[in-house]
């Protein structure tokens, strides 16, 4: 998967708890992205980063925050998890506009 890992791969958490997902790359790519994937919605961008400490919102950013303190790590935090945030989360990296490399995904269940 092009030197990109996600952790954890699976997580079950309770409503109201904070959750942090980690994306780690070894490719030194400038751009990093967090998506969520739900049936019938394809992939929707949550947040993305265009450099260390440079981040911006995507189309479904409410309830999520991100941080990027190093080139290789991009963290996604659910500040207070809700059942509507049950989803599969994918991290992606890129150096070009059209080709992104995706991680294996994290399946998050909020009960």
């Amino acid at each position: 998967d092009a030197g990109i890992t996600q952790s954890p791969r699976h997580k079950v958490t309770e409503t109201g708890t904070p959750v942090t997902l980690r994306c780690h790359q070894t490719e030194n790519h400038r751009y990093m992205y967090w998506y969520r994937q739900d049936p019938g919605h394809g992939l929707r961008l949550i947040h993305y980063s265009y450099g260390v400490k440079d981040t911006d919102k995507g189309e479904v950013s409410d309830g999520y925050s991100v941080s990027r303190s190093k080139t290789e790590d991009f963290l996604l935090t659910l500040e207070s998890a809700t059942s509507s945030q049950t989803s599969v989360y994918f991290c992606a990296i890129s150096e070009s506009r059209q080709e992104q490399y995706f991680g294996p995904g994290t399946r998050l269940t909020v009960t």
Partner: protein, 112 residues
């Protein structure tokens, strides 16, 4: 991802036949159109892209066609194989933008 969509959510194809997967888009400002393949349990994988100033681009067993007049994109897979069974997403991006907008996807099932 609401600017890009697919005509059919599922497609069943006989092994060895050609597959055609369609996608409609609405954003005239998009300058790159891309196809991704997602196998079960994995992240999406880049297949091929086409720039808006082109009509056709060929890869290995795949061809992407772009019709800007009707805002239509298609992916043709020649001699479909069992390994082609996956969900296929079209995506688009605009000039100077490093974000992609994805369509909802078409699930392709290859029959033996």
């Amino acid at each position: 991802g609401e600017n890009v969509g697919l005509h059919l959510p599922t497609l069943s194809v006989q092994e060895g036949d050609n597959s055609i997967i369609n996608c409609a888009y609405s954003n005239s400002a998009s300058d790159y159109f891309i196809w991704y393949k997602q196998e079960s349990g994995k992240g999406p994988q880049f297949i091929i892209d086409i720039r808006s100033n082109m009509d056709k681009r060929q890869g290995q067993r795949v061809t992407v066609l772009l019709n800007k007049t009707v805002k239509h994109l298609s992916l043709q897979i020649a001699a479909t194989q069992p390994g082609d069974s996956a969900v296929y997403f079209c995506a688009e991006t605009r000039s100077n933008d490093y974000k992609l907008s994805f369509g909802a996807g078409t699930t392709v099932t290859v029959r033996a």
